[in-house]
């Protein structure tokens, strides 16, 4: 009891101190800011550069790490900031030592390899620091309510650009958009069909929205939107990718900020995915482990928002038309037109905002190769912006904005450094190159604090949005693929073409993707070989420097764990359904053919049918025609359906062919609900660094097993 009281007291005091510090009026003045910066800079320099011998460095590290372990028990931003400070010092101290004392300049061959590794480490250090700056204090903006008088609400054009996606993908999005709560005469929904398909125009006419086409496809999506901007005149423009279905509350939640901030040019909401991405599907972690995008939408954008540096992500966002007009519409210079558009508007002094409320949901990429294709485009585009409109240079940005935008771009250069880390130990194991000129013990004394603090701090800051060590897997999977396009874009930003991400495909049967996994297999083979040679070195050839051999073997083992997980990702598991089932509990009423009714709840729903939990004592036969009632904004909606699966307390129904009106109602009762995506991660585990490592290790093990299966299949096919 006493300890609880005590910890509450400490927690309360710490936060009080934090609030007092932040709110101190003196920060408005230049002098205190400068003095504080100088003092902090001197302290930082001392902490990273004071020389210590090995025992003292060890003792110092243990003391700092113990302090971190102690304070992490307390909640609050101030504690997070203290932990960030520890981590920044530990990592910087390591880097200082690494650059000044561990590079062997006597041997040119060694120096070459050493500089590559140091370069990769400097990059990692920079991204870590910028990452802390971005994420240490997320703004957590709340929606501003709209005024009661709807006659004052602005007019909005809602664009749904599409190029080659199936009408069945676009249809629900249009219907969901029509369900948005906004005065009907002030919301103009337009399908921007760059595929010029007659069935789209027909559908638009039938349901009562506009459909624009144009004669060419210049500048792809950006050009498509710009063409539509010329033909419309709403005060605001909402943009949704053709598979992102908005909830009914989307505009009422987002538009309020435009009314209170006349300089606001854009508000972005998260891209939420109702279907598993290839990582989640192939590793079976859907809804249990945060996916690749969640760190960005859950934390980074929210952190950017603090610095007024949220950028546009191409969909699920609203833009102010006058601001768009000032930069001549959506940017067309790069293939990530969205981020560049935001950057250009911010250079003119406009604000951007982020609202971390999932108010739309779409389909994730369906296969690993499609996923890779999409990331290549992002990486290329960001590298292009870095080259043609570098946020560190040019007019109009604040220091914070420059750093946030730079980090968003720098992040995509991880390809080369990640491969360097995955291959570094083999340079010693193969060629006896001493890339770090130091004893294994001193390497441990400097690098362990750096690694431990970084993991501990990031687990605290990011844990809810990314589990520990998962970044390594995500990056290892993509490293080879984004490495070349980013490099090419830096040299010649105009090279290459725009590729559209395929969505709505279906993986017919489980198979190991031999094409996409080639780089993983090469890196894996090199590490396995290195490991075997390492054993030889440990036993026979290099017994005089056993510590170095062991260090490199351990590093190889870690690499094998990460690469094993990429093998698991490359094993495409079978997809059974075309329409995705979303697990959600909604109230429903069933009306049976005999006039009876059952009040029950859904287990999951899709656009084709649903599963329901039913109480005991009802006899429903397969094939029975049942009317399912769901409840939406306009009350009860009925959907005629047929029982396709009946088991004790579970009933699955398939909808009979629905009319357009009924399909619209189905959307509004399910994906259109304001709260439908809000408790998405309720059943998720809390992150702990060691758990993250355990998760990865078990996926890695499975990866090797499934790779073995893939090998066997291939063998069978041959013979």
């Amino acid at each position: 009891m006493r300890s609880i009281l005590n910890s509450r007291y400490v927690y309360g005091r710490l936060n009080e101190i934090g609030v007092l510090l932040v709110n101190w009026s003196g920060w408005e003045l230049k002098l205190p800011r400068t003095i504080a910066t100088i003092i902090a800079g001197l302290l930082y320099w001392t902490a990273i550069s004071v020389p210590m011998d090995l025992p003292l460095q060890t003792l110092f590290s243990i003391a700092i790490f113990s302090a971190a372990l102690f304070i992490r028990r307390y909640a609050g931003t101030l504690v997070s900031l203290i932990m960030v400070m520890f981590s920044v010092c530990a990592t910087s101290r390591y880097m200082y030592w690494r650059v000044n004392y561990t590079i062997d300049t006597t041997n040119l061959f060694d120096l070459f390899f050493a500089l590559i590794l140091v370069g990769a480490e400097v990059y990692a250090w920079l991204v870590l620091l910028l990452g802390y700056l971005q994420t240490a204090w997320p703004l957590k903006r709340k929606p501003v309510m709209m005024p009661a008088d709807t006659s004052t609400w602005p007019t909005i054009d809602l664009f749904i650009p599409t190029y080659n996606e199936d009408l069945s993908v676009v249809k629900p999005t249009v219907m969901a958009a029509m369900g948005i709560d906004w005065p009907r005469d002030k919301l103009n929904i337009v399908i921007l069909d760059d595929g010029r398909r007659p069935e789209f125009a027909e559908f638009a006419r039938e349901i009562g929205v506009q459909c624009f086409t144009r004669s060419d496809n210049r500048h792809a999506k950006a050009g498509n939107i710009n063409a539509a901007l010329k033909r419309t005149n709403g005060e605001f423009v909402a943009i949704f990718d053709c598979d992102h279905m908005p909830t009914r509350s989307f505009l009422q939640y987002t538009m309020g900020w435009f009314l209170v901030d006349p300089k606001l040019a854009m508000i972005q909401t998260p891209h939420h995915f109702l279907s598993p991405d290839p990582f989640e599907r192939n590793l079976q972690t859907f809804r249990n482990v945060p996916n690749e995008g969640e760190l960005f939408y859950g934390l980074i954008q929210d952190g950017n928002d603090l610095w007024n540096a949220t950028f546009f992500c191409g969909s699920c966002a609203v833009l102010r038309r006058t601001c768009l007009d000032e930069i001549d519409g959506i940017a067309v210079e790069t293939v990530t037109e969205d981020a560049h558009t935001a950057l250009k508007m911010q250079r003119l002094g406009y604000n951007t905002a982020y609202l971390s409320l999932p108010q739309a949901a779409g389909l994730a990429t369906e296969s690993l190769s499609a996923h890779v294709g999409q990331r290549i485009r992002w990486a290329r585009g960001m590298a292009q912006i870095f080259r043609v409109d570098n946020p560190l240079l040019g007019k109009g940005l604040s220091f914070g904005q420059r750093l946030c935008y730079s980090n968003a771009m720098l992040h995509f250069f991880y390809g080369l450094p990640r491969m360097v880390f995955l291959l570094a130990p083999i340079s010693y194991l193969f060629f006896e190159v001493h890339i770090i000129k130091a004893s294994a013990l001193s390497i441990a004394a400097y690098s362990l604090p750096h690694l431990l603090h970084a993991n501990l701090t990031n687990s605290r800051i990011q844990g809810a949005h990314r589990h520990s060590f998962w970044a390594e897997v995500y990056e290892a999977t993509l490293a080879w693929y984004i490495f070349r396009p980013t490099l090419v874009a830096l040299v010649n930003p105009k090279a290459g073409t725009f590729n559209v991400t395929a969505k709505g495909g279906l993986v017919q049967e489980e198979h190991f993707d031999w094409v996409i996994s080639k780089p993983y297999l090469v890196m894996l083979a090199l590490n396995v070989l290195g490991f075997l040679i390492g054993i030889g070195r440990a036993i026979w050839w290099n017994t005089f420097e056993l510590d170095t051999v062991i260090l490199n073997i351990l590093w190889t083992i870690y690499n094998l764990v990460i690469l094993g997980a990429t093998l698991a990702v490359a094993t495409e598991s079978k997809q059974v359904r075309r329409t995705h089932r979303v697990r959600a509990i909604l109230n429903a009423t069933l009306r049976l053919p005999n006039g009876h009714s059952i009040v029950c709840q859904t287990e999951d729903f899709s656009m084709g049918g649903m599963s329901l939990t039913i109480p005991d004592g009802f006899t429903i036969k397969k094939g029975d025609e049942i009317i399912v009632s769901l409840y939406g904004a306009n009350g009860e909606c009925l959907f005629p359906s047929k029982a396709v699966f009946v088991k004790k307390n579970v009933l699955s129904v398939q909808f009979l062919p629905l009319s357009l009106q009924q399909e619209k109602e189905l959307i509004s009762c399910t994906v259109g609900r304001a709260d439908v995506w809000l408790n998405w991660s309720d059943r998720r585990d809390i992150d702990h660094p060691l758990n993250g490592l355990k998760e990865i290790a078990s996926h890695s093990l499975q990866g090797f097993v499934r790779f073995g299966d893939g090998l066997r299949q291939q063998w069978d096919k041959r013979s």
Binding site: T589, R591, N594, G595, H596, S597, I598, V599, C600, P615, F618, I627, S629, G635, E636, L638
Partner: protein
């Protein structure tokens, strides 16, 4: 005593059934509920399992001292009820003469039951205006109007409005009245249209969830049982629960 009048402008809307099921539902919410049947059809008792040929009721001439507590029945569902009784035309005529003669007839009899201050009294009235409804509207604290989702019910709303206003406009102890749709079939376009029109017209007085047409309701009556006991998961049970929760939220009916 919190007196709730259950009213319908015309017959056949299922008012008695709603009254019985609502009583059981309010009891489940924690209220002490007594139901009074002022409808000469004497049908309420059948929902609570009373024998068809039992003549006892408040209109019976052989009620000792004309005291209502001798007609008070205990149901197995936790609700007490007062049946109308089986009477012939002559007896009914005399009974009604007595009511006409005394504007406080209902109040006096209810007071004689010795109910607590927070007890709920649900009164089933015959369809349309009449002496029973007059008596009830003079003392009711809450009115519940039952309608069917059809054109005939819709057209009766103005008359009911003025009738209720006539008896309650100067009474401070009248908390208000509401409209409930019974036997709703959302598959029928007309039903949905009437529902929408009534909701738009009546605003906050309209209970936004109707009671659905449900086979379980008629079957429950055939088994002489409230629907919540007969078919726990039916939409009718669910809808009546919703209604009692709505009454609780809007009028604080049950403590």
């Amino acid at each position: 005593m919190r007196v709730v009048a259950v009213i319908s402008p015309k017959g056949g809307v299922g008012k008695t059934t709603v009254t019985a099921n609502l009583a059981v539902s309010l009891e489940r919410l924690g209220g002490r509920v007594t139901v009074v049947d002022l409808d000469p059809q004497n049908a309420l008792r059948l929902h609570f399992g009373m024998a068809h040929d039992d003549p006892l009721g408040i209109a019976s001439e052989n009620l000792p001292n004309n005291q209502w507590q001798f007609a008070l029945m205990e149901s197995p569902y936790g609700v007490d009820f007062l049946p109308y009784g089986i009477v012939n035309e002559r007896q009914r005529d005399r009974f009604e003469q007595a009511i006409k003669a005394n504007p406080d007839w209902l109040l006096i009899h209810l007071n004689s039951l010795g109910l607590g201050e927070t007890d709920v009294v649900l009164i089933d009235t015959p369809p349309g205006p009449g002496i029973y409804l007059q008596q009830v509207l003079r003392i009711a604290n809450i009115g519940i109007v039952i309608l069917k989702p059809d054109a005939a019910s819709y057209s009766t709303v103005p008359a009911i409005e003025s009738l209720i206003a006539h008896y309650t406009k100067d009474r401070r102890d009248f908390l208000g009245h509401c409209y409930v749709i019974n036997q709703m079939d959302p598959a029928k376009q007309l039903n949905r249209d009437v529902f929408g029109m009534l909701r738009a017209q009546l605003g906050p007085r309209f209970v936004p969830s109707s009671i659905h047409r449900d086979e379980a309701v008629s079957e429950a009556l055939a088994c002489q049982s409230p629907v919540s006991y007969y078919a726990q998961y039916s939409s009718a049970t669910h809808d009546v629960q919703y209604l009692s929760n709505w009454l609780q939220q809007n009028f604080g009916l049950v403590d």
